[in-house]
Symmetry: C2
Subunit: 337 residues, 2 copies
DNA sequence: TTGTAGGCGTTATCAC
DNA sequence: GTGATAACGCCTACAA
């Protein structure tokens, strides 16, 4: 069934059918009514390929998810997907390894699928600096801040990672911890750099001297990596009383390592995470963490990319508020001091 | 850049260009070489819309994911997605609530996006029985067994849920447990029914009388639901020594509830799950579970749907092997008996 | 082996 | 307000 069939059935021409279907003016109410009835009756839907061919667009919005097995991104993805139901866009998702270059991949996918916009979940600014210039469609960095990047087609929606980290470490300080280790991140990930800065800011604000500070052990955002980082930490620094993990998955990996080493959380070591993934609430002990506002980040990202695509709006950079979620993995050791 | 430009550039006609690009025979080696060089030089890629319009296909393979926040499906999805990289197919994912009717949704999406095949993650046979008849494209039930369904365009790749559950409960029996509660599932979910049957089979095989058996408390596959089921169980049946949860997320929710009620796993109550999601390895205690072979299920599903689409193969139903993963959440209480 | 041309289902630009 | 018609880029008989 095509608009031709519909034309035959209603007695109008394809031009009028098309005008009705696209809500164009210059159609009589009568024609509109008759045609819409026929559309309903036949469950008619326009052929996307033909439409896209004519309009020279694909209707595809691409989401590139970097870093696998990431519950935060999985839940972000669900929210994002929900935003595109019943729109004219088709959301296509690509997963890729945390180590790969998302911008190179994006460029290839631009050729391949001709998307109208790209949402990046994860990724690091250096890759954008080097290769984003050739991408001309609107893009949004989701959870990463792109304010310092010189691209006017690249927006961002993120949590204030530095402030969030600061808040996490402040909380540990308020609970009497002074030697606080940092786990996670690499020197090329901007989120890591910001969260590390928050950790340092807190130290400075509380007047803790560098030699009294806990160490920073890097690693990617995974259970496994958190586990290994904590194992190393336990061997190398026995004076640490608390750990700030850059992601909940790392925090959980770390707690797992602590337990395997016959220590307890929070009695022996306190742990705070970042992200607010669901498992944290059901973990044992329940994970204290900085909760990102996933729904809001997802919604704003989708709104922004649609606006950029449809109205040609310039790139913007938004910060979404976070929330300190106090649960059980941090011990108040003020009494011990 | 279109094949016309390429024709002009190489001196060949669009027909020859098209034949080269589609690997058709009847093209001279020389033409093929010259044209391919031009293609490389220009990074030329065929316009998907035009191709699909002409061929009357969309190139889309749909994945419908039912049941949110499901780590098993998230990881399944990653594997599935990997199967379609560098193929002519575009994978489109739709998430929907566990309560909604996936077949109705699929039918709507068939109109909307004209997919060439559908992968269903989750779902229940009753919905298929009622509404699948109108879907004519090849589909695969992933993790659900569709062997009893009378559709020759509906394949399935799944774990032997009944045997897996049987194996889990046997393991508890072997460790001396006799009063074993079952948590999770609804009467309309086939996976639930099969896993429940495995639980009953084990009881029968071990000669445990009905009145000595633990209760079954239903619920959907989520942390939250596992938590609530366990809370109820703790109130209603204090003689239970072990719990078989129909999914790892429920098992974790259950353990969380047990801990919140000042009991311990596995000392006071043993828990075994089903699925083998990653967090189980980092949970505290580490979760004993029936591990599904996610990679293999995903790969076979993708292979099957592609084969059905391209060769018109008839539907098949495959069972993928599972694996009992013994970790820490089950206590051996033979000594206590 | 290669070229030509019609048509896939839409949209948009004309006339009327 | 409406109808005819030329694209959009590709594929594929059919002709040469």
């Amino acid at each position: 069934m095509t608009i031709k069939d519909l034309a035959r059935e209603t007695g109008y021409s394809v031009g009028t059918i098309s005008r009705v279907l696209n809500n164009h003016p210059n159609v009589s109410d009568k024609a509109r009514k008759i045609i819409m009835e026929a559309v309903e009756r036949n469950d008619f839907i326009l052929n996307t390929s033909a439409k896209m061919l004519k309009q020279q667009q694909s209707g595809i919005i691409l989401t590139i998810v970097k870093g696998n097995s990431n519950e935060l991104f999985a839940s972000m993805l669900e929210h994002i997907q929900a935003c595109f139901i019943n729109t004219k866009y088709t959301l296509v998702t690509e997963f890729m390894d945390e180590e790969d270059n998302e911008v190179l991949r994006a460029r290839q996918l631009c050729q391949d699928k001709k998307p109208m916009g790209i949402l990046f979940l994860g990724g690091n600014n250096q890759n954008f600096l080097e290769g984003f210039g050739k991408i001309t469609i609107p893009c949004v960095l989701v959870t990463n801040n792109g304010a310092d990047l010189p691209f006017k087609n690249l927006s961002s929606v993120s949590t204030d990672d530095c402030l969030g980290a600061r808040c996490a470490v402040d909380y540990l300080m308020e609970n009497g911890h002074r030697r606080i280790a940092l786990i996670g991140g690499t020197s090329v990930s901007d989120i890591s750099i910001l969260r590390r800065k928050g950790w340092e800011d807190a130290y400075n604000a509380w007047g803790i001297k560098p030699w009294e500070r806990g160490p920073h052990i890097g690693g990617r955002y995974s259970y496994e990596s958190g586990y290994r980082a904590m194992e190393r930490l336990l061997k190398e620094d026995t004076e640490v009383t608390a750990v700030f993990a850059m992601a909940d998955v790392m925090a959980i990996g770390a707690i797992s390592a602590i337990c395997d080493n016959h220590l307890r959380v929070p009695e022996d070591i306190s742990v705070i995470g970042f992200d607010g993934i669901r498992i944290g609430e059901y973990y044992h002990p329940k994970l204290t963490t900085i909760e990102q506002n996933v729904a809001q980040i997802a919604n704003r990202s989708c709104e922004m990319i649609i606006e950029c695509i449809e109205k040609g709006t310039e790139a913007r950079h938004e910060l979404i508020s976070f929330h300190l979620k106090c649960r059980q993995s941090v011990k108040n050791c003020l009494a011990d001091l």
